[in-house]
């Protein structure tokens, strides 16, 4: 890793291309390695590529443990939380316009959850079917990109406002189904709510969220 960094110091342009998060995996001691290019003492006149590298490195340092922990809590093991986190960081490192991301930490969590959900068979089947049936454009929806978020920011914010107005029960069911990927049987087992009730609550919640989004279009 150090050799990569020293090479990058000589040729900053290559940093983004050579950065590999696989080399970070399970090597937390690297966080404090001497002679690193970012953080206190770093050259304030950084090239855009070096600034990008520093942003990714700082994000990795600050988020990796929390992300792995969160993934393990939500999805267990397997899937390996570190593999998912690594894939999320790798995808992030491949984003060209990384500066457009207002909240990089939230962004990497979103990517990671999306990656984890792909390992859940019934969800992936439904997502593939919907992508195929709705239109080709939506097929790309399974990947998250800054452009896609920016273009629909208004609707995401409206959905969020609507979400915060839902009952706690509706929010819990939505999060468990949409983010954790639980089946309704699993939610029922944990909460005691009947599966029929869970379906009803989800339908009602989705209707309210659609209404919230439609209001922002008026």
């Amino acid at each position: 890793m150090n050799s990569v960094l020293f090479e990058a110091a000589a040729k900053p342009v290559q940093v983004a291309a050579t950065l590999s998060f696989s080399s970070y995996k399970k090597k937390k001691h690297n966080q404090d390695r001497p002679g690193r290019l970012c953080g206190i003492g770093a050259n304030v006149m950084q090239s855009p590529e070096l600034a990008r590298h520093c942003l990714l490195e700082r994000l990795y340092r600050e988020s990796w443990s929390d992300l792995c922990r969160q993934l393990q809590r939500l999805y267990g093991n397997p899937p390996d939380p570190e593999d998912i986190a690594q894939e999320a960081f790798t995808k992030l490192s491949q984003v060209k316009n990384i500066d457009d991301i207002e909240n990089p930490r939230a962004f990497v969590f979103k990517i990671a959850f999306n990656v984890a959900l792909k390992s859940i068979h019934h969800l992936q089947r439904a997502r593939n079917f919907l992508s195929e049936q709705l239109n080709n454009e939506d097929r790309e929806r399974q990947d998250i990109s800054p452009e896609r978020i920016v273009s629909s920011q208004q609707h995401i914010e409206a959905t969020h406002r609507g979400f915060m107005k839902l009952t706690q029960k509706q929010r819990t069911i939505l999060m468990r189904s949409r983010i954790k990927g639980d089946t309704y049987a699993a939610i029922s087992l944990d909460t005691g709510w009947s599966q029929a009730d869970i379906s009803r609550q989800l339908k009602r919640a989705l209707a309210l969220l659609e209404e919230a989004v439609s209001e922002c279009d008026i």
């Binding site: 399970k26 049936q133 609707h155």
Partner: protein, 332 residues
Amino acid sequence: MNAIDTKVAEIPDGVSDKARQWLVHLYSGHATQADYDALEAWLASDSVHRTALKRVEAVWHNIGLFDDIEALATSIEASRKRRFNPLRVISHPYHIAMAASILCVLCLFALTRYLPLDYRAVEYASLFGENKSVELDDGSVVMLSGDSRIEVILTGKQRMVQLLKGSAYFQVASDKARPFHVVGRHSSVSVLGTAFIFWQGIDTDRISVTEGEVSVSLPSENTPLGARAILSGEQITVNKDGAVGNIIKFDPNVELAWVNRRLIYDGELLHNIITDMNRYHSKNISLKNINTNIAITLSLDVNNIDQALAGLVNAYGFKIYEDDHNIKIIND
């Protein structure tokens, strides 16, 4: 493109409702091929149907793009609210023993107290290679060994912990009004305020008391009469078949070595040692064609598991095969 380009007014209420119903069913976990075929036919029958489904699917997708997704995801576990229903637990053969353990503790509790119907459960977990200290709301501290998981339920009248995976060292805050129960795979422990290690092997629970006194029960023992009192410095082992070992003295420096990231064994069975190593090693270590009842004396740092395995392999003439994810120890 997540933008929702279709207004509600353009879609009849009945169609929007049906589209939501389809989406909710698709993500239920119960959708069959026949359901998919029926939905495909429904979408093909009218373009408005497709528009309605696209609209609700966009909302569904947007939920995964919230900026506070991390906090919301955290709240999933924190807000888990359960109603006690033992029949739900016994939905899978693997859970039967756990369900029996829970029933045992609850029956103990119900002898003297009113049983609350609602309670909150919070889960804590440690990663591979990580010891993690958790302070519970009652002031108790739980040190989880690597790759371990507990579920904690604290009410005004009791404190319940399920050791779902791995091992843990419990330092229980004294609260005579609220007994502290720990339920493992093959046994359960009840205390008022003390410290003990609950270690889980492949088919064994081992409880070692470092302070005070605990009461150890089997799942089949649903009264306090069957419980065994274990004092400070004493240890008891319970096997999966319910066999209870003799109460013996133990060396806390050995049992608690993992807290300082060491593993120390004196005549421990090989498969139990491998179970512990797997909590601290990034690769999955497995044994093949090896008598796992070999008793081994060993001391190692958890960062030096590879060296320890190499030593074992040399000592017993085994062979070791390793790839990116697995280490297999084989007796050819």
